[in-house]
Amino acid sequence: MADVKLTKVVKRYGDVETIHGIDLDIKDGEFVVFVGPSGCGKSTLLRMVAGLEEITEGELHIDNECVTSVAASRRGVAMVFQSYALYPHMTVRENMGFGLKMAKTDKVEIKRRVDESAKILQLEPLLDRKPKALSGGQRQRVAIGRTIVRNPKVFLFDEPLSNLDAELRVQMRVEIAKLHSQLKNTMIYVTHDQVEAMTMADKIVVLRGGNIEQVGSPIELYLNPVNEFVAGFIGSPRMNFFDCDVIAQTDDSLTLKLPCGEVCQLAADVSHSPGMTRVKLGIRPEHLKEDQSGEIRIGVDVDVVEHLGGSTYVYARYSGEHELIIQTGGLSPVRRGDHCDFSFNLDQCHLFDCNGLTLRAAKPVPLHTQAPVAQALSG
């Protein structure tokens, strides 16, 4: 059972603390994605798990064994690097077998295991080539193959797809997902791309500034972001936010004045935060409707329209200055310069207090009307 458990893990470079005490439980066989903006410490955290960075404080357990100060090669982890780090002077076979060679494994055994792993990834025809003679996607696959050979307890990936073009990226994403279902090992995957996170993860860990913001399944994060940051980070295009004045407040409801002047009442458990004057309202682009069927109607000025075929993104301004993105159906008649009305339902609004913490998340939509979620996932 290759559980991974981080306890109060801290990383300091000299006096600068970049990871501020992280607690995290990863269950055996889980596909966990660390996601967050660039510089938030994803790689650092992953590299501490790998043993490439020292853990300044705290403990790391892999497979219920404390490996905090165990050498990288003895932790039972293998890693796929962003640059692949394939040794250019070795053939694919030698690259894949290097770890076994270092462990003084018998030559016949090395060959057997390399061949096996090559089969899983269909690398057999490439085994005698040098990395230079491989395409980007092939290199990627060799880099993964190299980790499989070592039969690690935990696979680590540090932005492995960011050097590929868009099409290959989607393809490799699927391959890695397949590989996971085939091998069933624990995998930790780092990316700054929330789409990758949403599509691949069993569990997403959202990081910001060296802290965990939220841990949960992709749908949980989509539906119940704990704060404004997660709400904005998960989902594409980004959630729209508006500042609203609080007109009245009871223990379980808020009366707000929207920027356009409309007043509405939302149910929310705000018993713990009395006396608010301003809150932030969040509404996802896919929840804004082109028709007038929603409870709240807003008039916008359209700046840019992007036709993606299957859907349309409308970039607009709402009551003068508020920027807004709307995602509508494939063949929207909206044109640049139009002034038109959109609408939304109040139960699809998120509310955040002045610290960005969620006051209320959107009500889960019944499953058969969840099309926008599926779209967001595949986007």
Binding site: R47, L52, A78, M79, M90, R146
Partner: protein
């Protein structure tokens, strides 16, 4: 018009090329000519052409009058030993400087850079005193004993020149630009730092090893002042100081040219064989150094 311009460019290049090649060609051609012929040919193009009665007399004289073969052997031993040891030792230090984190790294690196500006001539005098006081360890009557001084030996010409701050710096610069991911991948693969050096970094660093080998070879083969000071006897004398034998009494230019040609041969051979490498490596070394 274009063609005329090109012709002009070639003519000019040939003229300059003549100026640069003349002394070398003259030396080699003259080594095959009797003394009078050298002087007779000197003022014409014949000076750099292998024409007239060519003879090996000069070489015969050189081999008779001096132990040039011994010097040659010494130079080969000294040069190859120094270059091989140097490649190893210098690249190892550069590896720890560029690819491992350790306290004091920065200071050592700064010291290496600072040492680059000290020319050998500036320290030969105290170095001479130093090595004259260093004993060598040798076998005598079946036991280890300390023997005389280091002077007049091959090792006194080898060991001081193995570690070289400039070469360390060249290695350092090259290694520094290799992505760290390789080391980390190898570390995860269970390689020790030395194995990373041996199996990953060295095979990826062919160009810089070639550069340093070539530069070190040149430096060692052309050693002059140090062997003059540290080696009095014939036994350990290398080729360059050996040329002094031919001055003094009565100068025979033919013999001098023969000796000079003979000892220049290896450098020229290496130069012509690795010409492209040579030129690019020196340019690289210069621009970065």
């Amino acid at each position: 018009m274009k063609r005329l311009q090109k012709l002009g460019a070639y003519l000019f290049l040939l003229l300059i090329g003549y100026v640069f090649l003349f002394p070398l060609l003259f030396m080699i051609m003259s080594s095959f000519k009797p003394e009078q012929v050298i002087f007779a040919d000197l003022y014409s193009i014949r000076a750099i052409l292998p024409v007239g009665d060519l003879t090996l007399d000069n070489y015969r004289q050189v081999f008779e009058k001096s132990d040039v073969l011994l010097y040659f052997r010494n130079s080969i031993l000294i040069t190859s030993a120094t270059v091989i040891l140097g490649l190893f030792v210098n690249s190892l230090l550069a590896f720890t400087l560029s690819r491992m984190r350790w306290s004091g790294r920065k200071y050592i690196l700064a010291a290496v850079v600072a040492l680059m500006i000290i020319p050998i001539e500036a320290i030969v005098v105290p170095l001479l005193l130093l090595v004259s006081k260093l004993p060598t360890i040798g076998w005598e009557q079946g036991g280890l004993v300390l023997m005389g001084s280091w002077l007049n030996s091959l090792e006194v010409q080898i060991l001081p020149f193995v570690a070289n701050s400039f070469f360390i710096f060249l290695f350092y610069q090259f290694f520094r630009d290799i992505p760290k991911d390789f080391d980390e991948a190898a570390e995860l693969d269970g390689a020790t730092p030395f194995q990373i050096y041996r199996h990953i970094i060295v095979p990826m660093s062919g160009p810089v090893f070639a550069t340093v080998a070539i530069l070190h070879f040149l430096l060692m083969w052309n050693q002059y002042i140090w062997p003059i000071m540290a080696v009095q006897g014939e036994d350990a004398r290398p080729v360059m100081p050996g040329i002094q034998i031919f001055f003094g009494r009565q100068t025979s230019w033919g013999e001098i040219m023969a000796y000079a040609s003979f000892v220049t041969l290896p450098v020229l051979a290496v130069f012509l064989a690795f010409q492209k490498k040579f030129v690019s490596s020196l340019a690289g070394a210069g621009i970065k150094g």
